[in-house]
Amino acid sequence: MALVFCGVCSHAPGITGRAERADPDLREPFYAALGGMRDGLHATRPDALVVVAAEHFANFFMNNMPAYALGMADSYDGPIEDPAWLGIRPRTVRGNPDLSRRLIAEVQQTVDVAYAEEWRFDHGIMVPLHFLDPNNVLTVIPGNINCQGPPLSPLRRAWAFGEAIRRAADLVPERIALVCTGGISHWPATPDSGMINEAWDRQFLDRWARQDKAGMVSYTDQATYCDAGQGGFEIRTFVAAAAAARGPGTVHFYAPIPIFAVGCTVGTLEIV
C-alpha cells in the first residue's frame, strides 16, 4: 500500500548493556524519545517493519560481504550476543518471507541487493526492537548496509537503496514502516570509545533534516574516518531513510552519551 512510517535511531549496545552507568538526566529523556517513536510507529498500524541496520559481523563477514542485504526468513532470533552483556532477553521475531520476496524483487530493479533466509539479529536490530517493539508483536524484515568491512558502498548508493525500498513499499498492498539505525560520529569498541564529534553530528543531522541530498552524500569515507570515526560510516542508514521518506526530518532527541559510545539520536521523517 505505502510506506507509512520512517524514522532513525541509535543502536549502540551500551544503550541497554551499560544503562545503569549513564547519567539519568540524559538517559531518561533519550528513552522517552524512543518511547515517542514507538507510539508513533504503532499508530501507523504497520503490517511489517523493515529495520535497515549496519550489523557488526553477526551474519556477514569478509568471506562474502554484501553491500546491501534484506532478510527473507520465516523468523529471526536475537540477540546473537550474550543476553546478559547486552541487557536484552532472547526473542524470536516473526518474519514474512512472501512479503520479503516481493520487496526484494522490486528493490532489485535498481539495487543488486543480496537476500538471506538465515539472519540472527545483533544489537544493531535488537536495541531498536527492545524500545520500539517491546512486546514483540510486529512482523519484521531486516535489512543491512555494510558499514564495517571496507570497501564500503558509496553514500549515493545508500541513497539509491533507500529510494528502492520506498518504491517497493509503495508497490505492495501491505503497510510498511521503515526504521534505519546507525550511529553518527563514534569510535565504538576502540580505546576511543566515548569520543563523539558533536559539531559534526549536528551538521550531518541538519543536512538530513533538510533533505540536503548533496550535503549528505558529500562525505568521503576518508574524511568521515578522520572526523567521525569508523562508526561514522553508519550514516549510510540515515541517508537511506532520507531517500525513502523524501520529506523533511525532525530530530526528536540528540545528545552525546559517552558511556553509550555515541551521540544518541531519535528522528522521524515526513513521508511525501
Binding site: 551500551g14 548493556g17 551499560r18 557488526h56 559481523f57 553477526a58 563477514f61 569478509m62 568471506n63 546473537i80 550476543e81 550474550d82 552483556w85 540472527r120 564495517q148 568491512g149 571496507p150 569510535w187 565504538p188 569498541a189 576502540t190 580505546p191 576511543d192 570509545s193 566515548g194 569520543m195 574516518y225 570515526g229 569508523q230 559517552p258 558511556i259 553509550f260 559510545a261
Partner: protein, 108 residues
C-alpha cells in the same frame, strides 16, 4: 600475519556455541584449523586483548571475545590502550586509536 584468519576465528567463536565449547575444552585444538601465526595464536591463548587489537582485529569482533573472557567494558578499553603502549600502533584495519596514549576518554 593473517589478520583475516585471526578475525575469522573470532567471528566464528562469537556466533558458534559448538566452537565456544570446543575452545573452552581445548583451545589449541580449536585454533588449529585457522592457520594462525604463532604470535596470533599466543595472543588468543593468553587473552592478550591489547595485542589482538594492535594486530588489527575490528573492535566489533574483539569486544565480544573480551566479554567471553570475562573482561568487563572499562577494562577492555584500557587493555587496548595498554596494548598500543606496549606493542605500538595498530598495524592494520580501520580500528586504530586516534587519541593520545594517556588521554582519558569520557566513555570508559
Amino acid at each position: 600475519m593473517s589478520l583475516y584468519q585471526l578475525s575469522k576465528f573470532l567471528f566464528q567463536l562469537n556466533r558458534d556455541e559448538d566452537l565456544k565449547t570446543r575452545f573452552k575444552a581445548g583451545p589449541q585444538a580449536a585454533l588449529e584449523p585457522f592457520g594462525l601465526t604463532t604470535e596470533e595464536r599466543d595472543a588468543i591463548l593468553s587473552h592478550d586483548i591489547g595485542l589482538i587489537y594492535v594486530l588489527g582485529v575490528n573492535g566489533q569482533i574483539l569486544m565480544h571475545f573480551a566479554a567471553f573472557c570475562g573482561i568487563e567494558w572499562s577494562d577492555y578499553l584500557q587493555r587496548m590502550r595498554d596494548g598500543v603502549k606496549h606493542y605500538g600502533p595498530v598495524r592494520a584495519g580501520i580500528y586504530t586509536m586516534q587519541s593520545g596514549l594517556d588521554d582519558k576518554v569520557a566513555g570508559a
